[in-house]
């Protein structure tokens, strides 16, 4: 069963939250992650944390999305697809980097196949640190986007 909704996050909602008005469609992009963060994102949308009650919903196409959840260090092969995916999203769009790898390449820093952190490839609006971050932290970042 869904847990009681925790109080709203202390940090103010991001500026784009006003325009989104309590609704955020989310597209996940795995730029080279070990899938740890994906499991936590899956949990954030599962019955216990239920991110959908704050107006966030996973969608299948970047054209439908307002938020890109990017995980993992950006590998060489995923750098261009990541750029194109973010470019395909209509404005206003937000990029949320999930996990230590997305922020500073984490364990994979300096590996031969790694292009860099997510911030080196596209502009990042919100960051959620952790290896992997707890579902509560992902949900609280999404609540700053939907403002609910």
């Amino acid at each position: 069963m869904a847990e009681e909704a925790p109080p709203r996050p202390q940090d103010a909602p991001v500026p784009a939250a006003r325009e989104l008005g309590g609704s955020a469609q989310v597209r996940c992009i795995d730029a080279g992650s070990c899938n740890g963060c994906e499991i936590e994102i899956g949990n954030a949308f599962g019955p216990v944390y239920d991110a959908e009650r704050y107006g966030a919903r996973l969608v299948a196409s970047p054209r439908h999305a307002d938020v890109a959840l990017v995980t993992g260090p950006v590998t060489r092969n995923m750098a261009e697809p990541l750029r194109r995916t973010v470019a395909a999203m209509p404005e206003p769009r937000l990029v949320v980097a999930i996990g230590d790898c997305a922020l500073n390449c984490g364990e994979f820093a300096g590996a031969y196949g790694v292009e860099g952190a997510v911030g080196d490839v596209v502009d990042v609006d919100l960051a959620v640190p952790g290896c992997p971050p707890r579902p509560e932290e992902i949900v609280s970042a999404l609540r700053r986007v939907t403002g609910r």
Binding site: L20, Q25, Y54, A60, R63, D66, P90, P92
Partner: protein, 321 residues
Amino acid sequence: MNVIGYTAVVAQVALVVAGAPLLTGLMRQVRAKLEGRAGAGLIQPWRDVRKLLRKQPITPTGTGPAFRAAPALLVATAAVVAALIPLVSTQTPVRRHADLIVVVALLALGTVALALAGLDSGTAFGGMGSSREMTVAGLVEPTMLLAVFALSIPAGTTNLPAIVSGAIHDPTRLASPAGLLATAALAVAVLAEAGRIPVDNPATHLELTMIHEAMVLEYAGPDLALVELGSQMRLTVLLGLLTSLFAPWGIATSATWTALAIALVLFALKVAALGAVLAAAEVFWAKVRLFRVPELLAGSFLLALLAVTASYFLSGTGGGL
């Protein structure tokens, strides 16, 4: 009569446009509760539409008129169908034009518009979705026509208001074998036409299993808002058609304000109840494999054919055919 009749038409369209996102919200809420989640609330689909209308419109390179016209055409056909079907009143100024074949053709026009848009987007998934949608539509349209023909034999006409008012005055028509078979056939056809489980899963993220969603992957912003509103309106009018034909009680057959008010409230309640039952059932169903969809639809076509046969032989008079 005329003022009340025009009010009824406006009320039908307004209720379908305003209520369609709420119906989707209700169905998602029922699903969330049954899955142990809290849910986003009834008005979340309206929040989504409001946000999409504010977003940047995008026309992907290489797309043409079919892609641009489809969202408006989808909403327009659904709105015309909402005006034609006797959802709250059979005494409307458009009742002579509310023919069964016109209604099915209008719904097909919306389907074809979106299928052409899927092809126009030029992506692999768009074309695949269009091909699948046409496969399903080709099996669904005859079933819908046949199922309602079974009801039109006792009424002696394919005019929907005449069928509905006939059923209100003579409820035994619905309890007949033909009526029950036609209900089952039309219910399956409605599920397929509206793109619900077990034929299509509206919440899927897997492109390979998509039918309807695959065609609209390239839409963004205001166009996507129209496509979503159009699909929700189609679901609402299809469920409304089902309730009008098989649970017509409460629909205004006389042109009085009280009858109209009662009919409006009852229509909202009936469609909401049907939607909630459908959402609850979907939690327990799985989507069938794409290659088994024709078997399901052929089964429902057979039921519709049996309904027509039963209606013809058992109605005694043979009707007007």
